[in-house]
Every structure is written in structure tokens, then in C-alpha cells.
């Protein structure tokens, strides 16, 4: 008895194209590209980052510097700020400065501070989290408990404390290593976000440590550091990236909140949060709505886009956090 011809295996070559496996990243990429809101958010972020990078160009094109005063533009009778016009797209503020140019520069500050802080927190959090999950024992207890304590601190008050103490003289803190200004805000943000990353990485490492490929690598005599950073870390990249898309917008909100309270970036650095604080001076915003609307909407647009992007990435990667 012979088998019917229909049961013969289909040979892949017959379909013309050889079958290729997709890597994890190709799968994530495919899933992500089909997610319209997330793709839109990604493009908005690209545009905003480009705008922030080109801030000096914007200033050059309009011919208005971020701190340049145009007192002639204030309304003639009361000296009040004037609203949007063809020359000043977003109007001018109480000092007579171009709100549009300041918004672009403020965006630059927001993105610089939040990305830098996120990078530092990630580098530290990943290292510490890997160590805690991989080695376990007292090191794990120390790191995990330390992270718990940091997460239970009221961040704004600690940020206010550190910046008020370190801004008392121009020399800064710790013999000048922590200077008042942008660097201090970055340091504070990083200090209070690393525990989130460390906790995530620790948990994942704990699970991965038991897997065969880790045992195999150890069996081949790979040193601990190699196992941690070459074998385990690549498996965590996707989840850390998802987490980053959540930490960056929260950093942006936090920087703006600190600047709003007057303990963020220094006066001379344009900041969206401080622009909104200036608008509340004597309830100015009830008249000059553009002083509050544009910086606020811009902030909302950035954080909203990052959150949508993060949601999309999380869905594409599956599971996640």
C-alpha cells in the first residue's frame, strides 16, 4: 500500500521563497508598526525632538532670542503682554519675550533634563538590579530594601530640600560636584527613578538566572560579569525600553513641576514649568491666556505622546510590566 500523494510533505522551496524565522525584534517591529496611535506618537516625538534640537535655528529664523526683550510690543496703555500675531506666533510674555521661541527652548530643556536623568537612572538601575537578582543573598536584601525606602520618600520635598540647600551658594554641594542648575535637577531625577528600573531588572534576572543558557554559560567558565551583561541583559532590553518610555514623561512632568515651584532649572534657562509659573503671577493668565495655554499644551503633547508610545511598545512586546 502506498500513501496517497496528497499527504506528501510540502517542500518550502516550491512556494518560491525560503521560509525565514523572524527574530524577536522583527516581531516587535511588525506588531508596533501596525499600531496606528503608537506610530503617530512616535512621529510626534521625532518632530518635537527635531524642533528642540533646532531651537537656535528657530530663534534665528524669527530673529528673537529666548531671553530677548521686546518692550515695544507690550500694550501701550497698561504695558500688558499682547497675544499671538504673525510676528509672535504664541504672543509675548509680561517681560516682552517671544513665547514661541521660549517654548521651543523650554522643550529643549525638558527633553535634555529628562533624557539625561533617564539614561543615568537606567545605567545605575540596570547594574544594581542585575547584581541583586544574579547574586541574591545580602546584596539583594540591601539593594531591594534600599529601593523600597527610596520609593517611599516624598520626592518633591526631597528635591526642594536638596536644591534649597545646594543653591545657598554658587559653589554647589559635595565640594562643587553638584552644582545648582540643570545638573542638580538631573541628579535629583536620577536619584529617585533608579529604584523603579532596579526593581524591574532584579525581578527578571531572578527568573532568568535559573534558565539553561545561563547554566551553560557558567559551565563554559564565563565570568559572572559576562553572564550578567552578555547573557542576561539582552533578554531584558525590551522591557527596560518600555519602562523608559514611562519614566521619560514622568521626568518631564517632574522637571516642569520643580521649575513651577521655583526649585528647578535656573532663571536664565527657559523652562515650560517656569513659564506657567510666571503666568500665574498676579493671575496674569486670566487675561493673557496664551502664556498658560501654549507651554501647557506643549508639555501635555510630549508626555501624552510618550505615554501612547509606551503603551504601544508594551502591547507589541507582550506582557511587559
Amino acid at each position: 500500500m502506498s500513501l496517497p500523494a496528497t499527504l506528501e510533505p510540502v517542500i518550502p522551496e516550491q512556494s518560491g521563497q525560503p521560509i525565514q524565522g523572524r527574530t524577536q525584534w522583527q516581531q516587535i517591529g511588525r506588531a508596533f508598526r501596525s499600531d496606528k496611535p503608537a506610530m503617530t506618537a512616535l512621529w510626534i516625538i521625532v518632530l518635537l525632538v527635531a524642533a528642540a534640537l533646532c531651537a537656535p535655528l528657530v530663534a534665528g529664523l524669527t530673529g528673537h532670542g529666548p531671553n530677548e526683550l521686546f518692550p515695544g510690543q507690550l500694550s501701550s496703555q497698561l504695558g500688558l503682554p499682547t497675544g499671538p500675531s504673525s510676528r509672535f506666533l504664541f504672543g509675548i510674555d509680561a517681560g516682552g519675550r517671544d513665547v514661541f521661541v521660549r517654548c521651543v527652548y523650554g522643550l529643549r530643556t525638558s527633553l535634555t533634563v529628562s533624557l539625561l536623568a533617564a539614561a543615568i537612572a537606567t545605567a545605575f538601575g540596570v547594574t544594581v538590579g542585575l547584581a541583586a537578582g544574579y547574586f541574591g543573598g545580602w546584596l539583594d536584601t540591601l539593594i531591594s530594601r534600599g529601593a523600597d525606602i527610596f520609593l517611599a520618600l516624598p520626592v518633591v520635598l526631597f528635591a526642594i530640600s536638596i536644591s534649597s540647600v545646594c543653591s545657598i551658594s554658587a559653589r554647589g554641594c559635595l565640594a562643587g560636584t553638584v552644582q545648582p542648575g540643570v545638573g542638580l535637577v538631573v541628579a535629583i531625577l536620577a536619584l529617585f527613578t533608579w529604584p523603579y528600573i532596579a526593581r524591574l531588572v532584579r525581578g527578571q534576572t531572578l527568573a532568568l538566572r535559573q534558565q539553561e543558557f545561563v547554566n551553560a554559560a557558567r559551565g563554559f567558565g564565563a565570568p559572572h560579569l559576562t553572564v550578567m551583561f552578555v547573557e542576561i541583559l539582552p533578554n531584558l532590553t525590551a522591557q527596560v525600553i518600555v519602562y523608559l518610555t514611562l519614566i521619560i514623561p514622568s521626568n518631564i512632568l517632574f522637571e516642569s513641576a520643580l521649575s513651577f515651584l521655583g526649585v528647578g532649572v535656573p532663571q536664565t534657562t527657559p523652562s515650560l514649568g517656569r513659564m506657567i509659573a510666571d503666568a500665574t503671577n498676579g493671575n496674569l493668565f486670566t487675561y493673557a491666556w496664551w502664556l498658560m495655554l501654549f507651554p501647557g499644551v506643549l508639555l501635555l503633547l510630549v508626555t501624552f505622546s510618550f505615554n501612547i508610545l509606551g503603551d504601544g511598545l508594551r502591547d507589541a512586546i507582550g506582557g511587559g510590566t
Binding site: A152, F158, C173, N307
Partner: protein, 322 residues
């Protein structure tokens, strides 16, 4: 339960030591000038600086200074308990300056927490039950919007729309109910409460939705349905009960963030609580006041965390034996 309590209290003592140590380092070790100069304020005479120097024990080694700082905090100083020092800018003990303000901050935080839990849970449950409907989509949009909005900006927009443009809400400021009547007080508190609550309600709606969806798939829910129980009863008795624990965990973790939020909301709505005080103190270089509020807030969060943990162990017996 008793063993759990003892262990939890021991951990509380450890965290208190670590947190006071962190605060001590920020105020006594970090600054580029002597803490005495820092504490004495801008217009300090050499005599005042010398007094502060003596009171803080600055001529002793650092660890003695820390113990003294702790001793003042735990046992009180010459101005009473807890020992929070003297504000040279205001010429008064910090304790007396902030006593009345604590109530306002507590009222703001408690009211906001109630609204945010109610709002978050309701939206989360409805959007889980009506999964993939228009309502679900709207509420997901709501969630992401409020998660993304800067809280101070949200407060200002609410003020602008409801107070300035529409005139249906009261403006800024705190109006004690005893003096102005409950209605006036409530009218002035609604917007601050809402602003603070909206900041967190989104996260809770999102988490509740996930938890309810997970629970709805459980076998015991199917059993309950097979028994012929009404859907509302299943939702309240079987599903919601299981979802309370993750919500409570998150609530405990968010208490610190709540304190941060109250600072901003108090500034926006001109409520004279601790948060507004701390921001004013920064601009007047009144460091003892900033220190006092930071310590108090950190301790309050710790104690609130303890209460949440005990409540948690009471609701979920598994926790006690971990």
C-alpha cells in the same frame, strides 16, 4: 498576625533610621556652608550663628550631631515635641508655625484620596465590564490624558474655566468651615481635591480594569455564573473583593506621591498648608522650616504605609505568613 506585626514594626524602625539619616546628610553634610549659617537665615548675627552652632552640636563629630538631631525629633527640644527647631526668619519655633497648617494639608490629601479611589475604581470596573465598547475607549483616553497632564497646569486650567470664565466655582484660598460655613469651605476645596485626584485616578482606573478583566476569567467566577447568581452580585462579592488587594498595594506605594502632589496643588490653589509653607520657606531661606516639613512628611508616609500594610495583612491572610 502578631509575628507579622512585630516584624513590620522592626522594619519601620529601620526605615525611620535610614530616612532620618538621609535627611541629616542632606542638611548637615551636603551644604557648602556650615549648617549653622544655613539654619540661622540671611540676616544672622555672629551671636545667632554661635547659638545655632551650639544647639545643633556642630562642634561634636558628625555621628553625635546625627544622634542629637534624632534625639530632638524623638524626644522633643526646648520648644516641645517633636523637636523641629527654631525659625530665625520668622522668629518663632517651627512647631508653632506649622501646627495649624497640618490640618489643611491633611484635609486636602484625605479628600483627594477618597475621590481618586472612587473615581479610579468606578471607571476601571465599568470599562472592564464593558470591554471594547465606546465607553471603554473613552475611559482609556481619559486615563492617558490625566496621566500625562502636568498637575499644576491642570489646576490652572480648571481655575480658568470654572472660576474665571464660567464663574460656577469659587476661587483660590482656604476658608475654614468653622469660620465661613461648610458650604463655602466645600466650594473652595472641590477643585483642589479634583485636581489632585485626577492626577492619580487614571492609574487606578487602568489597574482596576486589568485586575477585573483577569478575575472575570477565573474558574470561581464561572462557577458563580453557573450557579445562576446575578451579574451585579458576582461583580461585587466575587470580583471586586479579589481586586481590592492590588489597589491597596498601589495606594500604599502612592502615599509618598500624594504628599508631593499636595505641595503643588496647595501652591496653585493658594491653600495655606504645609506644602505652600515649604515653598515660601525656600524663597525666604528659612531652612529649619523646610527641614521640618520634609521630616514630618517622610514620617507621615512611613506611618501611613504601616497602616496600609496592617490593613493589607488583615484582608489578605497570605501576607501574614510570607
Amino acid at each position: 498576625m502578631l509575628r507579622y506585626l512585630v516584624r513590620r514594626l522592626a522594619w519601620l524602625v529601620v526605615t525611620l533610621l535610614v530616612i532620618t539619616a538621609i535627611i541629616f546628610v542632606i542638611y548637615f553634610v551636603l551644604p557648602p556652608v556650615s549648617p549653622a549659617v544655613l539654619f540661622a537665615g540671611k540676616e544672622a548675627t555672629p551671636q545667632i550663628v554661635a547659638t545655632v552652632q551650639r544647639e545643633l552640636g556642630l562642634d561634636h563629630p558628625v555621628w553625635v550631631q546625627y544622634l542629637l538631631f534624632l534625639r530632638h525629633l524623638v524626644l522633643g527640644d526646648q520648644f516641645g515635641w517633636p523637636g523641629l527647631g527654631f525659625s530665625f526668619v520668622n522668629h518663632a519655633p517651627v512647631r508653632s508655625l506649622i501646627a495649624g497648617r497640618i490640618v489643611i494639608t491633611a484635609v486636602l490629601a484625605a479628600g483627594a484620596a477618597i475621590i481618586w479611589l472612587a473615581l479610579g475604581l468606578t471607571i476601571g470596573v465599568i470599562s472592564a465590564v464593558k470591554q471594547r465598547t465606546l465607553w471603554d475607549r473613552i475611559s482609556l483616553g481619559f486615563v492617558i490624558f490625566f496621566i500625562s497632564a502636568p498637575v499644576f497646569w491642570l489646576g490652572l486650567v480648571l481655575l480658568w474655566v470654572f472660576w474665571y470664565k464660567l464663574g460656577i466655582a469659587a476661587g483660590t484660598g482656604y476658608f475654614p468651615p468653622g469660620q465661613y460655613g461648610v458650604l463655602t469651605w466645600l466650594n473652595h476645596m472641590i477643585m483642589p481635591w479634583l485636581t489632585l485626584a485626577l492626577l492619580y485616578a487614571g492609574w487606578y482606573a487602568r489597574m482596576t480594569r486589568g485586575a477585573v478583566l483577569d478575575t472575570l476569567r477565573q474558574d470561581y467566577v464561572r462557577t458563580a455564573r453557573a450557579k445562576g447568581l446575578r451579574e451585579a452580585r458576582i461583580l461585587i462579592r466575587h470580583v471586586l473583593r479579589a481586586c481590592i488587594t492590588p489597589v491597596l498595594t498601589m495606594f500604599g506605594m502612592d502615599l509618598a506621591a500624594l504628599v508631593s502632589g499636595t505641595v503643588i496643588v496647595e501652591v496653585v490653589f493658594n491653600l495655606n498648608g504645609l506644602g505652600q509653607w515649604v515653598v515660601q520657606s525656600v524663597s525666604s531661606d528659612d531652612i529649619p522650616s523646610v527641614l521640618a516639613v520634609t521630616v514630618l512628611a517622610a514620617l507621615a508616609v512611613m506611618v501611613a504605609n504601616l497602616i496600609v500594610d496592617i490593613l493589607y495583612a488583615y484582608i489578605d491572610p497570605r501576607i501574614r505568613y510570607e
